[in-house]
């Protein structure tokens, strides 16, 4: 009996020690020190890269002090995180800017309240990347009505009355850039009726439809069309899953366009797993990771078409100019334009060095 009891307590002791040991090891595992460092360096380089032009501008004309209110969705993936970083880095460049950023949220209700708070706090100008453009239109228009100009970043409001200036990426243009790159390269290689695969993002989104439309339209100019098209969900896992099946469907592929570099990590994992390399691939958005792959020269990924989060940095610059009643120095106009669409440049091995500092960590 005592033996049994002793056994029992020894077992419990072992369990306890085991559990404690496990907990302490596990707790240590949440640290992401090194990658944090990498992120900071990346942010710093981005700041430095954007800084070149801005410090010049700032040095030229220090204007009246302005407060810029900034609101964006939750930084739950690389691109949005980079948007927030770029905005903060841009604001940092100016001695005359006070930057008030709210905590990112994917709850439109909360984002509306945050914008309200910014308005009540008396900011001079707002820069907003809405989680959902339609849902934030009303509050943005209220801000405009109250005399606070709004710079609308990327996801556009329903009504032009809700913003002073819109700056965003070009989804259709992304498709066109990707289509042109693939079409040109296949034509140069002399491939007849090539097998072209497309891995899209979330299909329900208008942005995905625009990207695919641009891609199809550009390919048509070369007499090509998309052979197989599948939609993933912008996540690594979905990219992997869809590509694994797609590679089975098409035993011989000439070119792939993948809409999004975040899901591209999964797409590349599936391609490596299948051991396929008879094709070349073009990415989308322009993550630092994709650019490093392109730079390595050993990957099937040879290019990526940009949808750069640096637009948020430009948005902050525009907000400052608007609040200070200035125009853009290289334009003849006295005021900032009402709409700016960034260009979807194609990053290849030739120019990747130049673009790498602008790549975002996915």
């Amino acid at each position: 009996m005592t033996d049994a009891a002793q056994n029992l307590s020894r077992r419990n002791l072992l369990r306890g020690v085991g559990a404690f040991g496990a907990m302490s090891v596990i707790a240590a595992c949440t640290s992401n020190e090194a990658s944090d460092d990498a992120a900071t360096t990346a942010a710093a380089t981005t700041a430095a890269a954007t800084g070149d032009t801005e410090t010049e501008a700032a040095a030229q004309e220090e204007g009246p002090a302005v407060t810029i209110g900034f609101s964006a969705p939750e930084a739950d993936h690389g691109w949005i995180a980079a948007v927030t970083d770029n905005a903060a880095a841009a604001a940092e460049q100016f001695g005359d800017v006070t930057f008030e950023a709210t905590e990112g949220t994917n709850d439109v209700n909360q984002q509306i309240s945050q914008v309200e708070t910014l308005i009540n706090g008396g900011v001079d100008v707002l820069a907003i990347l809405p989680f959902d453009g339609a849902a934030l239109t009303e509050i943005a228009q209220q801000a405009m009505d109250a005399g606070i100009p709004v710079v609308n970043i990327d996801r556009i409001f329903d009504s032009p009355l809700a913003y002073r200036t819109y700056i965003g990426g070009d989804n259709y243009g992304m498709g066109v850039s990707a289509g042109n790159f693939i079409g040109q390269r296949l034509t140069d290689e002399g491939v007849d009726s090539p097998v072209i695969a497309e891995i899209a993002g979330i299909d329900q989104l208008p942005l995905t439809q625009a990207r695919s439309q641009g891609f199809a339209d550009a390919l048509e100019g070369y007499g090509f069309s998309v052979t197989a098209r599948q939609a993933a969900e912008f996540t690594v896992e979905s990219g992997q899953q869809v590509t694994a099946n797609l590679l089975q469907a098409e035993p011989e592929i000439d070119a792939i366009w993948n809409h999004d570099d975040d899901q591209g990590v999964g797409v590349l994992a599936a391609i490596n797993e299948a051991g396929r390399n008879e094709f070349f691939m073009v990415g989308g958005a322009g993550s630092a990771n994709a650019m490093r792959e392109i730079q390595s020269g050993e990957s099937v990924l040879v290019a990526t078409v940009l949808y750069s989060p640096t637009m948020a940095g430009s948005g902050i610059n525009l907000a400052r100019l608007i609040a200070q009643n200035k125009g853009m120095s290289d334009l003849v106009e006295l005021a900032v334009p009402a709409s700016i669409t960034t260009f979807s440049a194609t990053v290849t091995a030739d120019n990747v060095e130049e673009y790498l500092p602008y790549g975002f960590e996915s």
């Binding site: 240590a28 595992c29 739950d76 690389g78 690594v236 099946n245 469907a249 994992a269 797993e273």
Partner: protein
Amino acid sequence: MNDTVTTLDETSASNGGTSWRDRLGDTQNLGLIAVLVLAFVAGWVTSPDTFLDANNFLTILKSAAVIGVVSVGMTFVIIGGGIDLSVGAIVALASVWGTTVASQEMGLWGMLFAFLAVGTATGLVNGVLIAYGKIVSFIATLAMLVSARGLAQYISDGQTQIVEVSAFRSLNNGDVFGIPNLVVMLIVVAAIGWFVLNRTTFGRRTFAVGGNPEAARLAGINVKRQTMLLFTLSGLACGIAAIMIVARTTTGSSTHGNLYELDAIGAVVIGGTSLAGGRGTMVGTVLGVLVFTVMTNIFVLNNLTTDLQNIAKGVIIVLAVLLQQRTQRGSDGAHA
């Protein structure tokens, strides 16, 4: 003590209404096998060149592997009368926790340990809240769904964490006698799950607790402890699934495992497990997972769009459950 165990045996058999042979799934799963055969015919007819390719079958099995392991854990929970909505979030949390720089510095074994420990510990928290905190499992795991994914996002800072440990990356490409590691893991986990469910006291207790917790308690089963262990087991399965998804995608991310709870519950239910608890089979669950992955594969082979895939998924769930009910009623009648 021995006496209780025998009584318990009888209790579970009479309350659960399932004999061992039924749990093997020999009659109940006929409906599912029919659906699967139909799917194979459809795949063969629509894409004869690619569907029957051996590599394609491996692709299907590899796609089924991750969700399959999660579903094995889910089968235990649902037979035990609960539901676990947090599986996808636990997979995400474990995948992130095990791929932080600190974890990766500990190498392959440190990472493996982190995945399993985080999964198990999170499951244990679920189990304690439900069994001893007396929170309904639907609510407790719903709360865990939100907070575990939140924690995953917090730890990863919303970034995709790429695995640099080469030993881990090669895990995905390795095989045992030509069968990919991931598929081997699914087979092993499902086999162990089948054995534990059908051949051990733990399995019998699971049926008893899910079938009639009051009767189980009167039969001397520690119902709370059993419930806690079931959710811990589901957490462990999620930890294993996290290893697999990280190996497949070479990344840890808070977006991993999105909507796994629906896929797993769907597979378990079309596999013939009763949401009311107390009855179900492991074989049915594995078949249920296969039905989904084969369908997805066929849709991609035929270049069909996601919306069509989703419509079909819904129809298949209803169809399979209807078929299942029919054959079940038939077999129940036969046994009665």
